[in-house]
Amino acid sequence: MVRFKNRWLLVEFLPIPSTPQSGAVAQTIQLNLDGRQIHSVLKQSILSNYGDIGWGAVALSLSVKYFSPTTNICIIRVGREQHKIVWGALTLLDGLEYMRLIPHVVHVSGTIKHVQLAAIAHNRTVIARYRAMANAPVAYQDSYDAYLESSNRDIESLED
């Protein structure tokens, strides 16, 4: 029974611009991130905090599965034994060169199913927050609906 067990982390990145603004505004800042950049930044963080040994423990099972630029959500898969290392390295992450970030781990789970559900729920709350800020009337159709649909499809098509 040597099944390889994983942990799936749902991470939200909160950007902190160098000129302090109120939190609600800050979330609308777009980061030009993608999965590969996150992977490299995470690798740097693990290397500097845990060294080569830490990176070696994690490297084969670490992969960034999904990233959404609109809501700054990222789904990362790690092996179960090493997920604490990656979680710690994520917390100690400072940011990118041009912008500081707060990594906020929203959900940790052992199967992809629950991470998908958590991601979809989180997307909905973020979109609701954007809409509340925009103060639009309830039945107003905006681009967020289309975004929600497409992101739901992307998330659900994730495979192990």
Binding site: P20, S22, G23, T91, L101, P103, V105
Partner: protein, 369 residues
């Protein structure tokens, strides 16, 4: 419920308060605005982030160097709380930290005469920087009194760990109800409170601070064996904030077991805040003890000359026992327990009574929670 018990607030007039130097000639003008609009909006943004990350109880911390002089010291947090916009569901607390060093060994204002002044703060804490003040903080200031300092915050980012953590001192402090605080800002190498930097209680250089922090925090965890620890922010820059679960994970890297790490973020601060409220009570007693007569207990029958009719009274049936017990029930329990539970077995009241009669220091758990 996640707690951040250390959100440092510095005021614009720190230069004024720093130059007391014992002369105390400049009385602080109490009507000068201590917070500019820019500072307020920065604090608001900081709070927004904290709430977004999931903290529900936030404690503002004002740091004072060396000693507290009631004539010149102003509780800026009172003003701050009035000026912040109201937020539902969030609890704000006020805390005072005093940095202790050699000069404060003789006394630093935490005396009985000043008690009424300190009542405006919810939590008091000390930051000792050498062995003598550490012993002072652990032994004398944790005893239950209106001036108990419930939090002892050891500076973790200093290059040479300033004093040897003696196990007996720490154990006494924890037994008296104090907790030791770990500020997670050091782990990230972020900037610490300006007052701490000035007083030399924190290291300015980021990477050195980080290394010292990991070493010192690990030592603190080892000596306290994971009990009596709380984790708090101490974060000045927004970018160093972290969600409470992330912080709990960081603390597990200090070889603290996972449940202890989670308790350090949730249950330990919760008990601490409740305990801190006992500063207003006599010797840290929580509740007013009430006399409880157990079910079926009857006063000893009057001697010899009693007639048979009188003697039959002390033997109530079980039905009556419930009724009698119900009348004699503590008024508190009637609020707490809803009617369904009242009719249930008598064993409920027995255990409730035992719980109250014993250790008065522990809070009686509300049935509904």
């Amino acid at each position: 419920m996640f707690y951040d018990l250390n959100v440092p607030i510095t005021t614009t007039t720190t230069s004024n308060s720093g130059s007391k130097k014992g002369k105390g000639k400049q009385p602080q003008a109490s009507n000068s605005p201590q917070f500019t609009a820019a500072q307020l909006s920065a604090i608001d943004a900081h709070l927004d982030l904290l709430i977004h990350l999931g903290y529900t109880v936030i404690c503002f911390n004002q740091t004072v160097n060396k000693k507290v002089d009631p004539k010149t010291h102003i509780n800026v947090l009172n003003e701050l709380l009035e000026k912040l916009k109201p937020r539902r569901g969030i609890l704000f607390l006020k805390r005072l930290s005093v940095i202790l060093d050699e000069d404060s060994e003789k006394g630093f204002g935490l005396i009985n005469a000043n008690t009424s002044y300190f009542n405006s703060y919810d939590i008091l804490s000390l930051i000792p920087t050498n062995q003598a003040t550490f012993a002072l903080a652990c032994l004398t200031h944790t005893l239950p009194s209106p001036l108990t300092t419930h939090i002892i915050s050891i500076p973790l980012t200093l290059p040479r760990f300033p004093f040897h953590l003696k196990h007996t001192l720490i154990r006494t402090a924890i037994k008296n109800g104090a907790v030791f605080e770990i500020n997670y800002v050091g782990a990230l190498g972020g900037e610490s409170d300006a007052a701490l930097l000035e007083a030399g209680a924190a290291e300015a250089n980021g990477s050195n601070a980080k290394r010292n922090w990991w070493a010192a925090a690990k030592e603190l965890v080892r000596v306290t064996k994971g009990k009596g620890l709380i984790v708090s922010g101490g974060v000045v820059a927004q970018a160093n904030l972290r969600a409470p679960r992330d912080v709990a994970n960081l603390i597990t890297l200090l070889e603290l077991p996972q449940d202890a790490a989670h308790a350090a973020c949730t249950s330990v601060p919760k008990s601490l805040i409740l305990r801190a409220q006992t500063r207003k009570t006599y010797r840290a007693v929580f509740s007013e003890p009430t006399l409880v007569i157990p079910e079926g207990y009857s006063a000893p029958a009057p001697p010899i000359t009693s007639t048979p009719t009188v003697a039959s009274i002390p033997l109530p049936s079980s039905q009556q026992a419930v009724a009698i017990g119900g009348q004699k029930k503590r008024p508190r329990e009637e609020d707490l327990v809803d009617s369904k539970q009242k009719q249930q077995n008598t064993s409920g009241t027995m255990s409730g009574q035992i719980g109250q009669g014993s250790d008065k220091k522990k809070k009686r758990k509300n049935n509904k929670e």
